[in-house]
Every structure is written in C-alpha cells, then in structure tokens.
Symmetry: none
DNA sequence: TTCATACTTCGATCATAGCCGAAGCATCGA
DNA sequence: TCGATGCTTCGGCTATGATCGAAGTATGAA
C-alpha cells in the first residue's frame, strides 16, 4: 500500500483467485460461514480465514458472529456491482477461455450456484414463476399467496424455510445468462426437491443434468405460460 | 490463470501499483508513449514496457505504432468505467488517504472521465438534462425528441453519433459524487463542443477548469430548471 | 468437566512476479 | 553508413504473499 493510486490496493484484493472465488460466491448477498467459503474457494480453512481477514479489514465484507460460526457477506451492493463490472470487462476483453468445451456448455445450461439452480434453467425457473404470479418483486423477491400454495403442493415445507435466518427468496445474478435466477432458502429447497423427484442429477463439479422426466416436469411446472394454475396437483 | 473466476486475472492486472498508475494516467482518453507512462508510473522504461505488454495482451489497452514511438490508450470507455467504479469503492471502504488536498477538490469539481465530463459538473449536466426532459430513462438512457433538438442546436452532429457502434447515451457512475454522469458518444461530443466553445479548458492531468462564460453558459443551458427552452440559440 | 466443532494464529515453505542492468532490435535523422 | 533515440528482451535478484501443518482460542454439547 505505497503511495500508488487507491485502486491498486482494492484491485489487488480482487486479484487473487481464492479471494475472487470467495467474493463471487457471496455475490448473491447471502452470508456464509468461513468453512463454506473455504470449500467454495477450494482452499483450506486457515487459508480462507486469512483471506477473509484481509477482505474484512478492507471493508469489502462484513462479519457477523453467531455462536461459533462467523458469517461473512458483502459489505454492500456496490461491491457486487464492481464485481459484475469486472466480469463484463473480462468477457469483453476475452479473458474468458476461448475454447468453449462441452463442460462449459453443460455449465451454462444448468449448474449449482452454491445450493440452488443456476444457468439457463435457473433463469427460466424464475422467469416462469414470475409470469405465473408465484413470485413478486424485481430485486427483492417475495412469495405471493398463489406461490405459497404452488410450492407447498410442489413438496416444499414453507414453514421450515421461514424459520431459518436465511432469506426465503433471493434474486441472484447469473454470470452466463444476464438475468437473475432464484436463490435463497426457497431456491435451495426447490433444487433439493428436484433432486428428490429425480428430475435432476448432480454430475461432476457444479454441473447438473436433467433427466427426461425432469425436463418434462420442469417445463410443465415452470415454463408453461398458457395455464397458470392446475399444476403439480 | 488457473481455473479460478475470470475476474481474478483482470483484477490482478489492476492490482499492481505501477499498472494502476498507468491506467489512471490514461483515464483521460489520451494516448501516451511508453516513456511517458514509465515516468507517470514511477518505474524504468523496461519495467513499464513489461507492464504495458501485459495490459495489451489482456486487451485493456490498445497500442498504436507511430515511427519509433508506441502510443497506448485505453481500449474503450468500459475500462475507464471499471476504474472509476473501483475508485468509488476504494473511497467508500476507506482505502483513500485522509488528507484531501486542493488538487482533489479540483478533480471533484470537474474532470475528464475517458473522454466526457465527470465530477460535480458532470452529474449536474445529466441531472439538468433529465429535468428538462432532454434525456429519458434511469439506467438505460435515451435521447428524447426535445433532447435531439436541443443538442443539435448546441452544435452536435447527432447523425454522426448514430453511425458509430458506440452507444449514444451511457450512464457512468461517478466516483466522487454518488450519482451518474453522462458518458457515451453524446457525452464525448458535449465535452468536445464545450472545449470548442471555450467554456472549459483542460488543465494538468484530468482536471478541467471552467471559464467565466463557461460557467454562465453551462448553468443557463443545463442547470436552469424554470425555463426549459430558448437556450443556446 | 470433557469433548467436539469452528475458527484464528504462528511458522516455515515455496512460487510468483516486480524490478532493474545490460544487451539487442528497430526506426529516424544526417 | 553511422549514431542517437525509443522500445523490447533477457537474466538474475529480491520481496511479497499464498499456502498448509500444527498449535492455540472460543463456543456449544454431552
């Protein structure tokens, strides 16, 4: 932190792969524990702890102690905004790898974003849920009455979701698509339920593969625009 | 450049003090030689050469050879935008030095952001243009019919702007103010016209100084709320 | 109290990359 | 052709900092 321009110290913090992983993991606004972030970044607990201390000291993150856990989240939307701008720049300047292998295509189609569905399918889910009036709001999402009924039918214990500290609905910006998908406790519960229903399987890494009936069920439930009731009954 | 998120490689480039110095020096949109940038960054020629090669390889800069000189400039306005966003974040999180010198005050008042007006004046311009109904929209800005007439009167060739690939209007977040100012092709054309009109002079670095008539003209044109026509005729 | 979990701190290792001196190209002017 | 200027490349030095094992601290559970 010599006399150089102020941006260098901040940018250097974002420039380490482990820290960048941590920050992008937190981009949906949730608060995660040190261990969860260590796993997400692919480093050991003590390494992550060091990184988090630095990010905290720089006020990019805020910590919240709860029992023996320490939850970290981004200190504000401006942090996420800078990260997003950097992603855009990285894409425009071609820092993204050229060869778009089959794995990348699979990743774009459907993947896990921490614990909920992301990628094309994730974006489609939220768009469909909005069109059917299950979820309301642009940035701050909320379940409608109709949505409560629908997801209860779908097999989700809404009462349990309400009890956790975690927000039920959360808009999470998708890096491959340019729209939001559904995060939060509900997003996690939906993915979990979809796995139980054998609609989708976790493949290597973050990739998710839909089964045949999974595609059918998913499209009937979420991406059908015409009839907005009478599903999943 | 391991498998980490794409932002890390870009951010790491911005994270070195010498490179950050180079980039912020180029933020006014000019093209400078290797030696000039080496001096600005406070490193030797060969060190600067290495940094510039990296920035060039990452497409953050573009090089232009002219005789035995090599001129570098930012590869686009989006680079400047990211740098501004980083400055804002650095300031908000307290990475900025405490002492706010007189030069900083001048910078806050009016400066060049890549090729358009930024600082208090820049924010005032966009705010005024919005209030007068010259420009519409919150995030995605657009010229209104009234705006077209106004800026044509002001001396700007709107047809020429439309021809370039660059967006005509662009909201660009200001790091010193907390509001947007006007970027894009129109923003650049306005600044250029204001310099032609001798409303404003480029001082050292990115600082812009308004002349007396410049202040008058500017306030009459943009920051007057009451009468929304009959300017710049 | 005792153990387990979650996290932090310490210490040592190691790789990366910034830095500059020296030498090598390339272009310009004479 | 020759030297001067602008820039690049090479090689070696050095500092920084990322990493993890091991040990230490705090909280919760039994």
């Amino acid at each position: 932190m010599k006399e150089g321009p102020v941006i260098a110290s901040v940018a250097a913090l974002l420039g380490d792969p482990a820290r960048a992983n941590i920050l992008t993991t937190l981009m949906d606004g949730r608060a995660l524990t040190v261990s969860e972030l260590a796993e997400a970044a692919g480093v050991t607990l003590q390494t992550a702890s060091g990184h988090l201390a630095k990010l905290d000291a720089a006020n990019l993150l805020v910590a919240e102690k709860q029992g023996r856990h320490r939850y970290f989240r981004l200190s504000g939307p401006d942090v996420a905004q800078v990260l997003e701008a950097l992603m855009g720049l990285a894409q425009r300047t071609g820092a993204t790898r050229v060869r778009t292998g089959p794995k990348d295509a699979a990743l774009r189609s459907a993947r896990v974003c921490y614990d909920h569905l992301a990628g094309e399918r994730g974006v489609a889910l939220l768009r469909g849920a909005r069109q059917q009036g299950l979820i309301d709001g642009e940035k701050d999402l909320a379940l409608t009455e109709k949505g409560r009924a629908f997801f209860a039918d779908f097999g989700i214990d809404l009462a349990a979701l309400g009890k956790s500290r975690r927000p039920v609905c959360r808009a999470c910006l998708d890096w491959s698509e340019r729209h939001s998908h559904l995060g939060g406790a509900l997003g996690a519960a939906i993915l979990s339920e979809m796995i139980d229903k054998k609609w989708v399987r976790r493949a290597a890494g973050r990739v998710l593969t839909f089964t045949c009936e999974g595609v059918e069920g998913f499209e009937a439930a979420f991406t059908s625009i015409q009839n907005t009731s009478s599903q999943a009954a």
